[in-house]
């Protein structure tokens, strides 16, 4: 039931995700952070069962860290990170799949650009200018189709994300009161806004 979406703009990427953690009729928490940092300049918004979300994200993040440690601080580009993650999904697919749907966003110093990748549980991997996972797609994609354009600023991208959140609040059956928004640009990954503080128990 997770809502995850993202938009690329000129110089970075914005990722957004709802913060609710629920199963059946029970809400476990409403301050979950579903946008997991992978490296200093990349993060993924992940939809799916919490176990797989955490397991897969940490596995990828730690492997990326190992790469940096093994290679004298060299970082993998966003494109390489996305394809690596996709490879892991593909390998696990016919054994014990990770049931995760991902939007991976990152900033590359070499191109001075942000990039956004759509990966799903069947191990697809596609570079996109904007995207969403889950039921949110039904509400957000058309807004993004209409509003997204090349050369947007960070403010433009955030405005579109806010529109999507408003739409979900208005029209989506399931209550997702709190959303986490993160921005990835030359200064790294930072929280733009959240509905509820993940740090608070």
């Amino acid at each position: 039931m997770d809502s995850v979406f993202g938009v690329e703009y000129d110089g970075g990427v914005v990722l957004a995700a709802d913060q609710s953690n629920a199963r059946s009729i029970l809400v476990y928490q409403t301050n979950l952070d579903k946008i997991k940092e992978l490296s200093s300049h990349s993060a993924m918004g992940v939809a799916g069962p919490n176990a797989d979300v955490v397991n897969f994200t940490e596995y990828i993040a730690k492997n990326l860290k190992l790469y940096e440690l093994s290679n004298d601080g060299m970082k993998l580009s966003t494109h390489a990170q996305a394809n690596f993650a996709r490879g892991e999904l593909a390998t696990a697919l016919r054994r014990g799949p990770y049931q995760v749907n991902i939007l991976l966003g990152g900033y590359d110093d070499s191109t001075k650009k942000g990039s956004l990748y759509f990966l799903d549980y069947l191990a697809s991997c596609q570079k996109v200018k904007y995207g969403s996972q889950g039921y949110a797609s039904s509400f957000c994609l058309s807004i993004m189709d209409k509003e997204c354009r090349d050369g947007m600023s960070e403010a433009d991208a955030i405005a579109i994300v806010e529109k999507c959140i408003t739409e979900i609040h208005t029209r989506f059956l399931i209550s997702q009161k709190n959303f986490m928004i993160k921005v990835i640009d030359k200064d790294g990954v930072r929280v733009n806004k959240f509905g509820a503080d993940p740090a608070e128990t």
Binding site: N71, M74, L76, S77, H79, A80, N83, F84, S110
Partner: protein, 282 residues
């Protein structure tokens, strides 16, 4: 003294040496010389071809230079059969990295992989080490053009210019004096400052500004031929006894591997001869 401790790779001598590894390195000092030179716009690898018989059928594309992937190549000094195994390993590693990350493997990672493979044969299994030394030449966006040398111990280092195989000491001493000595005025632009931060010797600087100047590829080719002539006991090497390889970028920024044809090689040899003749007159 070495006699008791030299039969097994996996045994240190009392002086803390691995004799098998050292003997392997000795084997390479009898092999055909290879020179590697880093230029501002590419890398040169020049090899002496040891043709043992006129009856031999021509080898594949090359007997000394091997393409590892689109952006890296290597030359071999030592046991060719051993080299084939390691070259396969390198090609596999490059391919697997590309499959995993959909990107070219950074050159140093490729070199390190081959070297780690070699190192295993100095520590486990009771197998002898590989009797091969390599010069690796490659390009990646992280560190630009890079030249690496590796030996049977599994050790590797980055170089601006180096020599392996027969008479490599003579070759290296010539490189020490001649590499980066002067800009190649006749070929146009003055070479740029070193981009890579790899280790390797700091060459003596003879410039006013005090920076190391890389030659351009034509200049590096001439220097390589000069070195080969020196390592060949001072006799000039004929065009068909040498193999000149250049790794560079084309206009689109893609890597190009080129082994010079007979005529082009002859041109370089002639230029070197002309240079030394005029230097002799001065």
């Amino acid at each position: 003294m070495a006699r008791r401790y030299d039969a097994s790779t996996t045994t240190f001598s009392p002086e803390g040496r691995l004799h098998q590894v050292e003997y392997a390195i000795e084997a390479i000092n009898n092999a055909g010389t290879c020179v590697g030179i880093l230029a501002s716009d590419g890398i040169i690898m020049a090899c002496e071809k040891r043709v043992t018989s006129g009856l031999l059928a021509p080898a594949k594309t090359s007997e000394k230079t091997y393409k590892l992937c689109q952006h890296a190549a290597c030359t071999v000094a030592g046991l060719t059969a051993d080299a084939n195994i390691l070259i396969d390993q390198a090609r596999l590693r490059a391919g697997r990295y590309e499959y995993q990350y959909q990107e070219n493997i950074p050159v140093e990672q490729l070199v390190e992989h081959v070297c780690n493979y070699k190192q295993a044969y100095t520590q486990y299994g009771g197998l002898r080490p590989f009797g091969v030394a390599f010069l690796f030449a490659g390009y990646d966006p992280h560190h630009g053009f890079q030249l690496y040398q590796s030996d049977p111990s599994g050790n590797y280092s980055g170089w601006k210019a180096t020599v392996i195989g027969a008479n490599n000491q003579a070759g290296k001493s010539l490189l020490k004096t001649d590499y980066g000595a002067k800009p190649d005025e006749e070929d146009g632009d003055v070479a740029e400052e070193m981009k890579t931060d790899e280790g390797g010797e700091d060459e003596k600087k003879k410039d006013v500004e005090g920076e190391i100047r890389l030659p351009n590829t034509p200049g590096a080719l001439r220097l390589a031929v000069k070195v080969l002539n020196k390592t060949n006991d001072g006799t000039a090497v004929a065009a068909d006894k040498m193999e000149l390889f250049v790794l560079s970028l084309d206009e689109k920024g893609e890597c190009v591997h080129k082994i010079l044809g007979k005529e082009e090689a002859q041109n370089v040899i002639d230029e070197v001869e002309a240079e030394s003749a005029s230097a002799g007159d001065a």
